[in-house]
Amino acid sequence: MSPTVVITIISLSILAVISAVILYFVAQRFKVYEDPRIDDVQAILPAANCGGCGFAGCRNFAEVLVSAETFDGLNCPVGGSTVMDAAAGILGKVPVKVDPLVAVLLCNGTPEFRPFTSVYDGVADCRIQHSLYIGETDCSYGCLGNGDCVRACQFEAMHMDPVTKLPVIIDDNCTACGACVKACPRKLIELRKKAKKDRKIYVACSNCDKGGPARKACKVACIACSKCFKVCEFDAIVIEKNLAYIDATKCTFCRKCVSECPTNSIIEINFPPKKPKIEVQAEAVSN
């Protein structure tokens, strides 16, 4: 070996040792303590980083969970009770029961019910169309149909129906992260309590106009006639700003309001078809 190589090896080795010693002490001095449980909790979170919990991603939520006194008001909508129970197990805390939610569209204005009055050829973006004008129909509250909500959904739980021109929500995929709720400029998507067998009864309308103009713009608009409010025995229906609203936590799915609604703006989903009354009587007799 030539002396140059030997000198190089020795000098570099000395440099390496000195640097290692400096780095060791610097690392000791500026060490940041991190709770190891944060990593454990993060590992069980769904890693969707959807922001549905209200925090900036799963890591942030894990930090909040570890430092929180109780789990009140903290919930991962994507993981649901399984993830929250597991996190509670790791941290030795009591899990809080949170009802699972699902997104529903508060508009049923298909072209059949809500005729087109103008043509929009601008940017296919609901936010822009909403800022420009009332929309292609006469309803200033209804769905614009450009699919901002579909683009916001990262769980493939939404798609646009080409016939109805409305977004369709697939309940099984919906995690109630709330991204579509934020994306909709007309606030047409609501997160409602999930019921058994995915049953739903809700007012599929957001039109706050008075009955006349609302009905003129859309055949299935809520006209705030109060019939549902009168028929409801459980105080689940309130009428505000010319619009009926069914409280999902009070609703018992008796379906009385559905048949009472003169404009069919209250819709029921995933119910078995109602048996005609005569048939029921016949069965009773035969029994």
Binding site: T117, S118, D121, G122, V123, D125, R127, I128, S131, L132, Y133, I134, S140, D209, P213
Partner: protein, 444 residues
């Protein structure tokens, strides 16, 4: 070399089809719908009820807050209902519907066409008169004029600039007004000068209106301190900041007002309205509207009462051509398409343009090629491609740092884009969101 602003700007084809058509009075319609919000600021508060009978020029909704304006009835008749109607904002807004019966004016209005040159009012009285008469900026922004005439303490105004640029293609309402009401405009300018306490006024007119320049230059020799300046033709010269830069070579800093460089800008239409309000006691309830379009059989300039449906204007111009694809309210650059023809004319309506369908299609959208044409076209030194992308992605905080609120929405960037990107659409969205965010921050 003619004066103009140095940065950016475009030269769209002019198509000033109606510059030779004298202003005609549009016949009164059978009903009018007078909006209670025809200006920037708080809507006026209603003073009338259903069933009341009103006279032409009667106050029907009063000023509500500092930045607001009075609304007067434009016709005489009975109020049939107070309801909502889709107006130029694209949404339903409150309007007063009046069934027209005759044309009986309020007694105090001087209806003679005689020119009154002597200004008898004190400066404060002039401002008060503008406030009472519901005068707003008629260039299109409809900012209440009395607010502009009130110079805040600590600020000094030493120059009045009159905007006779009318840089939008197609529109000719200001042009015709300058030709036909030149004397009245000059008296109006003298009134504004007295109200502001300034000795000097400059009228900026683009060189494509040489007849108006010659006419006003000849007349202005009789009026002390008023000079006419021809300007090179370039869009958007009618914007306040660009006009100031062109005339006196001073730049209004970002987020500041023309008053910060000692100038106040008013439109020629406003000067005429001020003349009528102060000398003739006539509130603002009619204005000149251009109705035009390449296929329109009889385009022209009409003196229209506010509240008249756009439909009547189109009928007066020979009906809607069969090939109409879009009806635009305002100029082709900054105007907005209407979704029906029942939309009433408001104080800010400068023109109605009927575009044939082959001109009103949106060309195919292509990817941005980073050619930076939008940057060269921007008169405010912004980066339109960046602002549009930021707001499309919802990065509004960053857009605010990039000065999205400086944008005046002139549309030069979208006009010049070879890839047909909807730049202005997204910038408008971002700008309104950023303004909303800033307002919320101020509340907190």
């Amino acid at each position: 070399m003619l004066k103009t602003f140095p940065l950016g700007g475009i030269h769209p084809p002019e198509f000033k089809l109606t510059s030779g058509s004298p202003i005609k009075q549009l016949p009164l319609p059978q009903t009018v719908a007078i909006m209670v919000s025809q200006h920037i600021g708080a809507p006026a508060s209603l003073l009338v009820n259903k069933g009341d009978s009103v006279k032409t020029g009667q106050l029907i909704a009063s000023i509500n807050g500092f930045v607001s304006s009075n609304i007067h009835s434009s016709v005489s008749g009975n109020i049939s209902k107070i309801d909502t109607i889709i107006d130029t904002t694209g949404y339903r807004q409150t309007a007063v519907f009046i069934d027209v019966a005759g044309d009986e004016w309020v007694d105090t209005i001087d209806r003679s066409s005689e020119l009154v040159r002597d200004i008898n009012l004190k400066p404060e009285e002039i401002t008060e008169k503008c406030r009472e008469s519901g005068i707003v900026g008629l260039g299109g922004a409809t900012f209440p004029s009395h607010v502009k005439l009130t110079v805040p303490t600590g600020k000094k105004c030493n120059l009045l600039i009159i905007n006779g640029v009318e840089c939008e293609p197609y529109l000719t309402s200001d042009h015709r007004l300058m030709l036909e009401k030149g004397e009245e405009i000059l008296v109006g300018i003298s009134i504004l000068m007295k109200a502001l306490g300034v000795e000097q006024a400059m009228i900026g007119i683009e060189n494509n209106k040489s007849d108006a320049i010659a006419h006003l230059t000849r007349l202005s020799s009789d009026y002390k301190g008023i000079t006419v300046y021809p300007l090179a033709v370039k869009y958007p010269q009618g914007a306040e900041k660009q006009l100031i830069k062109a005339l006196i070579n001073r730049e209004v800093p970002s987020g500041r007002l023309p008053l910060d460089v000692g100038a106040v800008v008013h439109n020629v239409g406003t000067a005429y309205a001020v003349y009528e309000a102060v000398q003739k006691n006539k509130p603002l309830f009619e204005r000149v509207v251009t109705i035009t379009g390449k296929s329109v059989t009889n385009p022209g300039n009409y003196l229209v009462r506010t509240g008249t449906a756009v439909r009547h204007l189109i009928e007066a111009a020979g009906g809607m051509p069969d090939d109409t694809g879009k009806i635009v309210n305002g100029g082709p650059m900054m105007g907005k398409a209407l979704n029906n023809t029942e939309v009433p004319v408001v104080k800010g309506t400068s023109g109605i343009i009927l575009f044939p369908s082959n001109e009103s299609i949106r060309p195919e959208l292509k990817p941005c090629i980073r050619c930076a044409k939008c940057i060269s076209a921007c008169a405010l030194n912004l980066e339109p491609y960046l602002l549009a992308n930021l707001s499309a992605r919802g990065l509004f905080e960053r857009a605010e740092i990039e000065k999205i609120t400086d944008c005046m929405e002139c549309g030069s960037c979208s006009y010049t884009c070879p890839a047909n990107r909807p730049l202005l659409d997204y910038i408008r969205l971002g700008k309104s969101t950023v303004i909303k965010m800033a307002r919320q921050r101020n509340i907190k």
